[in-house]
Amino acid sequence: MKRFIAFIKKEFLHVFRDRKSLLMLFGLPIAQIILFGFALTNEINHAKILIVDQAKDRASAEIIQKIAASRYFEITDYNADANSIEPEFKKGNVTLALVFPNHLYGDLLHNNNASVQVIADASDPNTATTLTNYIQSIISEYNQQVALATTAGIRIIPQIRMLYNPELKAAPNFVPGVIALILMLVCVMMTSVSIVREKEMGTMEVLLVSPFRPLFVVLSKAVPYLVLSLINLAVILLLSVFLMDLPVKGSIILLFAESTLFIITALSLGLLISTATASQEIAMLLSLMGMLLPTLLFSGFMFPIENMPWPLQLISHIIPARWFYIIVKSIMIKGLGLSAIWKETLILAGMAAFFLVVSIMKFKKRLE
């Protein structure tokens, strides 16, 4: 036991003496929380729109005024030439063009029917559809204003209640995601590299011939990152409570217990990578290329999993972060207890056991 503590001390010294890495490890979660919280949004605001007004009458003026008043649009040119649409799209200066035909108001009065044309730069299809919908609702608002008769007498009105997140903020969705992402990457990347490093430098040989059991050599490597990850988790939670106004609804003890389980899963995965690789370069590329984007995508916090084709939905089941994301969301946002997440907990525990057993088996083989 005393030896084990001495080894852990050595590992802590390794980690704390590397100031630059340490700074990045703590800087990253903070930067991510701030970016996700304040900079990144799927909502589309201030889209640049160009107007080709061939009508120049009451109708077009009123519609333009409505668009100018909307926070979704920023009109770059009130009176553009129809030929300028394509070059402006190609330069990427505007994303939408609105064309009012001649005699718009006249057609509306005499034929009861007129049309305007919306041209979208659909190279980004999401933005294109969303903006077209915004224009559509602005114009239907105008139509109602023009309409002489109001709609029929029957009204079924939905009373909409937004559960868990009444202000529709982005934080409840991404804070659990960032927690999963950061814990995963810090644990997998840092452990895998730190063990391979001793191999590559040759110091592993020295450690292995010491009277200390090889398994504990490896386990002691994982302890500092476990502690670091728990501190990171605390930092993220503090930021989310004080900066994002997002309190932890459920039990904090349960949240930390589940996080520890997830960290152990990630650490064992890191262990597995380090026993399977021979150089830091490979270990890093493997944990980065193999972990970063898949964790980002398949945890379900950026893109809905149910939209993916079924083979990918299947793959998402083997990503530990997916299950942990559900757990954090349930405890933090919904305030649920262990009874709601026992299934996810079991899956994580199973994964941790599997990774550990495989990496220990592999590790022993390498010693022979």
Partner: protein, 373 residues
């Protein structure tokens, strides 16, 4: 010139002899380019809805029929009470609860007015608001439909209305993959370029072989060129395979604009990215350090590049960061040339900025390099 040739020979044989490295550089990114666009789909469809129907009348059945036949919603089941339906939301089986009150039909017919309770799981705010607006839209049509059925409203007078005709340029089928594939390819090339350069040079430092090179008559710029050229070539190769095999072959995305222009931009961009890797390597002493520094910046580069979320919607300070990010410009140019067929004149500003990035990163790295060794 001869020195550089020998250095290149050394680098290439090191890369090709490493049996594990080459597949990692080539296969991992291409596999991702193939899979990730399939996964990245924001579109909100299949909103799962749980129903609590206290009325069980003709009107409530009609309403439910209107909702299910709209195609946006998938009924997950009837619950007896609201708390029971809430369980469905807690376990993520349902996204939305619709509660139809008792005497729904009577109230609608007699008073012409009734309220429904809609509870939405709003953890994902975007999905929640879209789901709720789909439902409101359906209710509007349903209201009009009821009016026709039960009230003898003269619906003959045509009301004046402006119609919207929309057309989508450059991507008429609104295929989201056309948007994602060029962006992801840009990110992968960036990852490989910066990581490989940073790690490779720091590796020589950590193992100590850089000392051997430092005592030879090899000049600093020879050494740096010898390191950069192989990774420049690898970056070009990865991009080429990605563009022709995956983007064109698999996804059928044929660049509308000039491929020569695309390669010209890539060539300059890669110099900037490799310079960034070089810069990291001058500040890092160990590979672990290089990795965490590179990871920190690349994470921010990717998130702030407009790959997943539009830059236009960012607040002012975030836009400034996005514009200090070289990845932003490459993704922009990729999408412009590949999807819109933009020409040289359209991307001149981006070329200028990327050239500036290339000069600053490399200049800074070389300046810093001399001081440390």
């Amino acid at each position: 010139m001869r020195t550089i040739r020998f250095l290149l020979q050394k680098e290439f044989s090191q890369i090709f002899r490493n049996k594990a490295l080459l597949p990692m550089i080539l296969i991992a990114p291409l596999l991702q380019l193939w899979i990730l666009p399939l996964a990245a789909d924001y579109e909100v469809k299949n909103v799962n809805i749980a129903i609590v129907d206290h009325d069980r009348s003709g009107a409530s059945r009609d309403l439910l029929h209107a909702i299910t036949s709209s195609g946006y919603f998938r009924m997950v089941g009837y619950s007896a009470s609201y708390p029971q339906a809430l369980k469905e939301i807690e376990t993520d089986r349902a996204d939305l609860i619709l509660e139809i009150p008792l005497h729904f039909e009577t109230n609608v017919v007699r008073q012409g007015h009734e309220e429904l309770l809609v509870a939405v799981n709003a953890i994902n705010g975007v999905k929640a608001s879209i789901g709720a607006s789909y439902l409101s839209k359906i209710l509007q049509t349903f209201n009009a439909h009821l009016a026709l059925q039960w009230q003898e409203m003269p619906n003959t007078n045509v009301r004046p209305s402006v119609e919207v005709i929309s057309s989508n340029w450059f991507n008429p089928h609104l295929n989201y993959r056309f948007f994602m594939v060029p962006g992801i390819l840009a990110v992968l090339v960036t990852l490989i370029g910066s990581y490989m350069t940073a790690l490779n040079i720091v590796k020589e430092k950590e193992v100590g072989t850089i000392e051997q090179i430092n005592v030879t008559p090899i000049k600093k710029h020879h050494f740096i060129l010898g390191k950069l050229i192989p990774f420049w070539i690898i970056g070009m190769a990865v991009f080429t395979i990605g563009l022709f095999a995956i983007a064109m072959g698999l996804y059928g995305i044929v660049p509308v604009g000039s491929i020569v222009l695309l390669y010209f931009f890539l060539a300059v961009y890669l110099i900037a990215v490799l310079g960034f890797g070089l810069l990291i390597s001058t500040y890092a002493a160990t590979q672990q350090q290089a990795m965490s520094i590179a990871f920190f910046f690349i994470m921010i580069f990717i998130l702030m590049s407009g790959l997943f979320t539009p830059i236009e919607s960012m607040p002012g300070w975030a836009k400034v960061i996005a514009h200090l990010n070289p990845v932003t410009y490459f993704i922009e140019v990729m999408r412009m040339i590949v999807l819109k067929g933009s020409g040289l004149k359209d991307i001149l500003p981006q070329i200028g900025i990327i050239t500036l990035f290339a000069l600053v990163f490399n200049g800074w790295a070389i300046w810093n390099y001399r001081k440390t060794s």
